[in-house]
């Protein structure tokens, strides 16, 4: 059989239309398109794609089922390893993971594993919520999960399925972590996250919102209240700033603030929703990752005339997903590569007016193996802006560390764990961005599942 080197394209909203709305950009495969794409999979004996997936989904297996139009079987194969395939199918950096290893990709376009995953998962989403039945719960075995992002959700699901009474504590008034306050609607519809949470509730998981562990209750308080195992999945939420002059001017946001205002608080529907956001005519976004790309594409949708992406390396080094970079360009994002901000200047009311930048060139490789950007002397220039969004990374929130004296903390505020995702404190596990620093949805989810398995073993040890 001849190999088909071109993948079946996915229908998308056209750039001129989607620039003006927050609806999802890729529209998903039809059944025929999915089957056609699945046919491109060679069912390789060694299936190298599987080792590219951080949770080793049996990719070959689920694609085989799609080839046979066995969609329920296909999605069940995925559920064995992935709690949130509707999400990962959309947001995984597939080109660096599963699809990077696909044999077809050597000569042509890799099999679109993510799109196929999305297809079968979407097909099953509502159905699964209906199918889910609560399991008999052992009221004596109580576990607490801190944070409702992908790590917390995955851990809670596996614990609940094992008959453990799980309570998830979330600081925000909405559940889902970065999936609701960070990643915008046009990449990940919130309805999906809501349905996944409903499924967990049906499994018997209890959610307590508006409750920050470290303030309302400490880890030790949770033990006192009878929780026997605790999973910390509090993410890497504290935004970094660059420490350059003018950074506290009105109109300079962290990406977290900007995205929280727009996504979680729905500022794009202001004043119906009451949280405002400065719209701006000309916006600078600083950074090159998914967060920067999401902020920039959000700014475009809020009607800014010019949105600049300021990144100190080149496009090749940008950590953002390829598809997002591609979409952003189509939507008119202006790329200012090899450029670094040095200061902001303001008007008489302290609103940001200009960003001063310096050009960079690539020098010797640094510890990450990427060539280090160095400033070009005297190359400074200014851009007129009225809003700036800083997306240069986050660090773990220090609250739990500060209020749990006997918990070991790493150099960057992260929580170190062993191969079982257990911390140095007995009964306390951790996973996701709080352990790894800002990473990906699928690694956070994998960590949540590993922690759940470890906690279940830990419970059976203490029961004896």
């Amino acid at each position: 059989m001849a190999v088909n080197y071109k993948s079946v394209p996915m229908r998308e909203q056209l750039p001129d239309i989607r620039r003006k709305n927050f609806d999802e950009v890729p529209l998903g495969y039809s059944e025929e398109e999915a089957v056609e794409e699945a046919q491109r999979c060679l069912q390789c004996p060694k299936a190298p794609c599987i080792s590219g997936c951080p949770v080793n989904i049996n990719i070959k297996g689920f694609i085989k089922h799609i080839q046979n139009r066995e969609f329920k079987e296909a999605v069940n194969v995925i559920y064995e390893s992935d709690t949130l395939p509707c999400v990962t199918g959309r947001v995984c950096p597939q080109e660096d993971q599963c699809q990077a290893k696909c044999v077809v990709g050597v000569k042509g376009e890799a099999v679109s594993i993510g799109r196929l995953e999305r297809y079968v998962a979407d097909r099953d989403l509502e159905q699964r919520a209906n199918d889910t039945k609560s399991i008999e719960i052992n009221e004596n075995l109580k576990a607490a999960v801190i944070g409702s992002g992908p790590a917390g959700i995955a851990c809670a699901a596996d614990l609940a399925k094992a008959g453990i009474k799980v309570t998830v504590f979330e600081g925000f008034h909405k559940l889902g972590g970065v999936l609701v306050y960070g990643i915008p609607e046009f990449r990940l519809p919130k309805r999906i996250v809501e349905t996944e949470i409903e499924t967990l509730k049906k499994l018997g998981v209890e959610f307590i919102k508006d409750t920050l562990i470290g303030r309302a209750l400490t880890i030790d308080n949770l033990f006192e209240k009878g929780y026997k195992g605790i999973f910390i999945a509090s993410g890497a939420g504290l935004p970094k700033f660059m420490g350059i002059p003018g950074e506290n001017a009105n109109g300079v946001y962290s990406a977290n603030e900007y995205l929280t205002r727009v996504n979680l608080m729905k500022a794009y529907k202001f004043p119906e929703y009451e949280t405002p956001v400065l719209k701006g005519k000309s916006i600078a976004v600083i950074g090159g990752g998914n967060v920067a790309m999401d902020a920039a594409r959000t700014a475009i949708r809020l009607g800014s005339e010019k949105v600049y992406l300021i990144y100190r390396r080149t496009e090749a080094e940008m950590p953002a997903r390829l598809e997002e970079v591609h979409h952003a360009k189509e939507e008119g994002l202006i790329f200012k590569m090899l450029t670094n901000p040095v200061s902001y200047s303001v008007d008489d009311k302290s609103f940001v007016k200009k960003i001063e930048c310096i050009s960079m060139e690539l020098g010797e490789p640094d510890s990450s193996g990427r060539r280090r950007p160095v400033p070009v002397n005297g190359s400074n220039f200014e851009i007129d802006i009225d809003v700036a969004i800083v997306a240069v990374g986050t660090t773990p929130n220090p609250l739990i560390a500060k209020t749990t004296p006997d918990l070991k903390i790493g150099k960057y505020g992260e929580i170190p764990v062993d191969e079982n995702n257990m911390t140095n404190k007995p009964g306390v596990f951790a996973g996701g961005d709080i352990v790894t620093g800002a990473a990906t949805v699928i690694t956070a989810m994998g960590a949540g599942r590993n922690a759940a398995a470890s906690m279940i073993r830990y419970f059976s040890d203490i029961e004896q």
Partner: protein
Amino acid sequence: MIKIIEKYKLGPGMNFALLDAPLIAESAEPGQFVIVTIDEKSERIPLTIADFDRENKTISIVFQEMGKGTHRLANMQAGDFLYGVLGPQGNPSVIHENKDVIIIGGGIGIAPVFPIARKLTAHGNRVTSIIGYRNKDYVFWEDKMNAVSSSLLIATNDGSYGEKGFVTDLLKKEIESGKNIDEVIAIGPPIMMKAVSDMTREHSIKTIVSLNSLMVCGMGMCGACRVTVNNEIKFTCMDGPEFDAHQVDFNELMQRLGTYKNDEQKCFEDWQEENNGC
């Protein structure tokens, strides 16, 4: 959902509400605050915990009608439910023992100083409270403040109650009287806290203020609340809200508070129009 147990006006545009909030009441300490969401569309509104009762599992909030959020809150009644109340947030006030402390509350800021004064007094401190109101119609919690202070001094801008003038005028007299003052704690409008800070700096009196920066998350993930303290960026919700007044950049704080003036104004006026219409 959090139930409003009691709700009444304290004065013009000033409101009191008692909330059924067991988990918050269990651990709340003076100096901490909550983030209130009225419903799904509301802003996240930071308000200081003006009082708490561990036995009855309640907390109190006292708030001034500013924009749409606080006006809508003011329209709610006993028996209504709030969508969410996050807390207690922020670091509790640091309470020393056996010192001479001056507590200053300006306007609505009198509510948050009350639990601080109470705890200070309980810890053997001698507390002189200076509270200031616009005029006699705005006077509230005089009796509560009296009960937790060694002495209570009152000022109104127009002299319609207590002494005529600002809290800083009374503070000046206290300082000039030569009494020992170990610490000043001031809560009120930024402009008042700045004036207090400028005055005590001259006399090298340690001064603590509680900053009311803009906030979105209130839990250290957005950076909306950042302020400059001792030339460093600090997050009010995580590192504060109380800071050493002499290190705070008040001008920046006040400028940042004006970020959404136009939007908020419009939002509020639209809402007023709608409500008068029906």
